[in-house]
Symmetry: C2
Subunit: 207 residues, 2 copies
Amino acid sequence: MEPSVKEGNGKEWAKKAAIGRAAASLFEKKGYLETSLKDISEAAKLSKGCIYYYFSSKHDILYFILDVYMDHLLEGLEDELRKKTDINSKIQFIMHRHLSLYNNRIPEAKAILTDAHNLPYEYYRSIALKQKKYSHILADVLSEYFDGEMPMNKAKAISYVVFGMCNSIMHWHDPDGQITLEELSGICFSLFTGGIRQLKTNQAINT
Amino acid sequence: MEPSVKEGNGKEWAKKAAIGRAAASLFEKKGYLETSLKDISEAAKLSKGCIYYYFSSKHDILYFILDVYMDHLLEGLEDELRKKTDINSKIQFIMHRHLSLYNNRIPEAKAILTDAHNLPYEYYRSIALKQKKYSHILADVLSEYFDGEMPMNKAKAISYVVFGMCNSIMHWHDPDGQITLEELSGICFSLFTGGIRQLKTNQAINT
C-alpha cells in the first residue's frame, strides 16, 4: 500500500504545501539531516504543534515534497503525448516540460536527487516507482523515435542518460552567475536532439 | 599552499595507493561517513598503526584518493591534445579518456562526486581547482570546435553539462545489468558528438 500523506481538504492541502515549500528550501540550504522540525516551523511561521498536526515526522515532510514533485512530472503527461502525432513534437514537449518544472521547483528537484535515500524503505520505494514510470514514458517516446529498432533496455539507458544530463545542472549552476537556466535548458535541448539524431544515424549504419 | 600527501619513495607510494584503493571501495559500499579507519585497516590487511604512518586521518585518505584521480585525468592531457591537429580527434580523445578512466576507477570516480564535500575546506579547494582546470581544457577544445564563436562562459557550461551527463551514469548503472559500461560510453559519445553538432548548427543559424 502506498503511504498516503495527501489526504485532507483543500485548506489542509494548502497548509501542507506551504510547509513542504519551506522545508524544501531549508533542505537545499542547510541539508536534510541538518534541518530540524524547529527550523521548519520557524521558516513556515507555524507552531511545531501545527506541523505535527499535518506530518508525523521530518521523513513524512520529505516524502510529501518528493511525491508531489513526481506527481507534477507525471500528471497528464501521457495524455498530452497521445495528443501529439509528430514524434519530434513529443520529444520537444517532454524535454521542455522536464526542464521548466525543474526551473520552477529547484529545491524540490534537488531534494529528489540528494535526499530521497534518507526516506524509510517503503516511502523511498513509492518514489522510485514513480521515477521508473517517468523514465519509462521517455523510453517509450525514444523507442518510437528510433522506429522501434532500438532495444528497450538501450532506450531506457538513453532516457536515464538524458535525465542525468539535465539533472546534473543543479550540482553546479549558480542562479546569480552568467548563464541563465533558460540558456542551459536550450543547451540541454540541443545536445539531446542532436545527440539522439546521431544515435539514429549510427543505428541506420549498423543495420 | 597545496596540502601534500604524495611525498615519499616508490615503496611508500605503492602502500599508500593500496590503502587508497581499499578505502575507495569501502566508501562506495558503506559510504564515507560510515567507514571507520578500522574497516580500512582490515580491508587493506594492514595494522591501524601502519595506516596512521601514512595518513593522519580518514580525510587525508579521501584527499589522497581524489587528488590521485584528478592527477590521472589531467596528466599529459594537454600535451596529447596539442599533438592532434584535427578538432574532431581532440573531442573524441578527451571523451574517450574521460570515460575509460572512469570505467577503470569507478569507486574513485564516485568518491569525487559523492564524498568530496566532506573534505576540510583547504583540501576541498585544491581538488575543486583541479576539476576547474579539467573542465577548462574541455571548454577550450569546445571553443575551438565552435570556431571561437561560442562565448567562453557558454563553452564552459557545455563542458559541465557533458561531464554531468557522463558522471550521472554512476548513480544508476548496475554492472551486473543488461547494459555494459562500454555500451553506455558509446551512447554518451554519440549524444555528445551529435549534440555539439546541433549546437554548432544553431549557432550558424543565429549568426
